[in-house]
Amino acid sequence: MLSADFVIATGIAYVGLLFLIAYVSDRRARRGKQSFLRSPFVYTLAISVYCTSWTFYGAVGSAARNGLEYLAIYLGPTLVFIGWWFVLRRLVRISHNQRITSIADLLSSRFGKSSRLAVLVTVIAVIAISPYIALQLKAVTSSIQAIAGARDFGQGSLAGIDDVGLALGVAAGMALFTILFGTRNVDAKEQHHGVVAAIAFEAIVKLAALIAVGVFVVFAGGGFEAIFSRAEAAGLDIYSSENFDSRWIAMNVLSVAAIICLPRQFQITVVENSDENHLRTAGWAFPTYLLLMSLFTLPIALYGLTRMPAGSNPDMFVLTLPLAADQQGLALFAFIGGFSSATSMIIVESIALSIMVSNHIVMPLVLRFTQGQGVGGGVSELLLNSRRFSIALILGLGFFYFYLTRDSDALAPIGLISFCGVAQFLPAIIAALFWKEANVRAATGGVAIGFVIWAWSSFMPSFESSSPLVAAIMAEGPWGIGWLRPEALFGLDGVDPLVNAVFWSLFLNTATLVVASLLSSQSSLERVQATLFADLFHRNGRTTGAAIIRGSATSDDLFFVAKRVLGEERAKALFATAAEEAGVIRSGPEPTPQFIDRLERELAGSIGAASAHVMLSKVVSGDAVSLEEVFEIAGETQQVIEYSQKLERTSTELRSTAQQLEEANQRLRELDSQKDEFLSQVSHEVRTPMTSIRSFSEILLEEGRLKPEERQRFVTTIHTESLRLTKLLDEILDLSALERGERTWENVPIDAEAALDRALEVCTALASQRSMRVVVGTRAPRALVAGDADRLCQVLINLVSNAIKYNDAAAPVVEIRSSAARRRYVIEIADNGPGIAKADRKFIFEKFARGEQGATSVPPGVGLGLAISREIITRMNGKLELVNTGEPGACFRVTLPLPDARTLAAAGTADGA
């Protein structure tokens, strides 16, 4: 039999177990054995602190009252986690870099280390979370009562204690437990390995308990089919038609905001994160956990509604269903599960909040009060005490809220009030991560306005039952002003009160943030921080707001401050490391800006960015350079750099000009030597025929007794040689005219095929004379190219006649083919002659180059034909080349571009060079 005493004893024993786990884990962590604690799964399980009593008990109640609505609370976080790459990864990275300790610290740090914003966020968080703490107290109280109330004799020592007394006891116990748990030391990064381990353990317990109850219900109810059918038969609306209305959207938005903004989620997901890559696992594992937690909610709710007597509290079905079936063991397990959910939430939430309170409210007060001088007794101790006090305060507020609202009975609506409260941080956080222009006044204003509207439209109405004044305002509006009624703000009547509150608070919050940011400007420190936040992934290495404080502070001054905050041991270690890195032994490290910045971040890890900044500024304020001055210096430096860059550019330009001149000169010299070479070649070519003419004419002049036939032969030779000489001079003139572009050249549309026909006609005679076969292969149809018809004909005749002349094969053949494809017109002239020796191929188009002659009797050409031909074809924008077909003989190819009709028409007028 379960009695209240037994259940309470079990609860206390369970807490003892948690304490043991935390203690062992802490010791392991301290000894550096963190392999298990640093696993991504422990991290994921710890994130599951999101699932509180609200999930464990309240979701079933919510499902029983409002159908599918409860799922929205888990779908929102699912979205945030599957999109971890975009928001959570940034948060974790920035928080690691900046040593962020809480959500208030994050916002304060981004918005210029503003203490005012940090205080505001802290106050809002403490107030907004109080309903949530109350929810846990209420759930634990109700669960104890549900068990105790089940049997008359089960009351035990609880007899005579009402729920308020019980809740007070629970709150006190929780406060004590959390203080023992979470405030044993001040950690550099506010990481609590022991707590995380205990929370992960609790996550397993609550999941197992809920699934056990779920399986039991499905089993007892005869399967899903039977449960839903029975519910339908009992007149329950299992297809609620209001599933996906505006309330659904509002709840999704709230849960998205909550998973980022709830102080405990921020603490676990961001601050306790030891490795960014853990998000990779949490990205899918946490949604899986949520899915498993919600799997049986609906069946439990429906089964409870059909089985339990009318009027029983659906929030407690998880507990009362096993009790009703006399499953004592399962009921106890369920109680432990619910207890786990409540304790884990309270522990982490109050640790997170206490860090915020001590860093952003207590520390600044102490700093102001002591003028930064006599922080006696060590800051560490002060911090710990202020945290202990904060925890007590937070649980006290939770209890107070519980006391005032004890008459309302559903759990889920209380939780939604908290969600809506912390959601006011979301616009500022998103702006902090992504929008550089957002400034501190806008962020403070937005958060404050959102908070006021939330307090009016969501927080205050929860006191309706305990305060007649609130009830009156709810009904009539303050002083009878109807449009200020909390649940129909600005006349927005007829929507769900939750939707009303969520919409107005977030809308006005965001609007204020955006408009005020656009209208006002940022301070310099803010600009630095904004860049650090928004350009997080665009930087190489870690960039910090270094060099902000420079002063005459000595290493001793700094050590004094560090010792006060971090404790003697850690301060010593920090200074020793810095000195070692700087290469200074025995004395402290130089108080360089880098070192001061590092120290500031180190201190920020303990007391928050704003306090650390104030504290160090006080110590080194002697001749601190203001940020504005730094910017000015930076501006001047920038100008100097720009000027020197300009100089450098000019000098580079000069260098490149000189280089070009040098190249041009080189080219001129080459051309000059080419000209000399050409002249000597020409002289040589001219000399041979001249010599023979001269010698023959001398013979004719001197020898009077020549036979007539001999005389005839000599005269013929002189004539032939003169012709050759004329031809040579003609060709030289032609080539030089072509090369120097003296002759006007006009490319007009011509039919290349017609030119080819003409060339063939001319060559046929020559071919038949040498009993040679001219094979005409495939021919292209009419091909219009831009060029000079006569010149093209000249080139073709030259090529064909070369092929005929130098062919000494037994059965000489020359093949001519043409084709037009892909905007190119190609003529190929191939023969089966000796071909061109490999060594000559390269030079065949050079002036006076002649191929190795075969054993032909043909007189050698002057060696300008191919050079002229190539020049002509180049003028026609084409290409003349010797192609290697792999067959014996030579193959020349003429390629000419086939322009489209438009270009062709234009060709007639253009290109006169």
């Binding site: 979205l79 870099n97 839903f228 999704n252 899915l291 920090l574």
Partner: protein, 76 residues
């Protein structure tokens, strides 16, 4: 896939998931019918949920690993 595409896929998965669980798409499954004894919209939501989890699992394995953020070593 390269980094840019993977990041886009992650963004798309998130936005698509949000759209699927919101009206009007979610309303398409409010059809007063049951599968395996469970109302269609419940099945639908859980299937979308599982799909998102699978997508996140796959992306988590493939998204590029950044260099470990430079967290200064713990002095305590």
């Amino acid at each position: 896939m390269e980094r840019g595409k993977l990041e886009s896929a992650a963004l798309f998965l998130t936005i698509l998931g949000a759209m699927l669980i919101m009206p009007p798409l979610a309303l398409l499954f409010q059809i007063e019918r049951r599968f395996l004894g469970v109302p269609a919209e419940v099945i639908y939501l859980f299937v979308v949920w599982a799909g998102m989890i699978f997508g996140a699992w796959w992306l988590g394995r493939h998204l590029p690993r950044d260099r470990e953020s430079e967290t200064p070593e713990d002095d305590g």
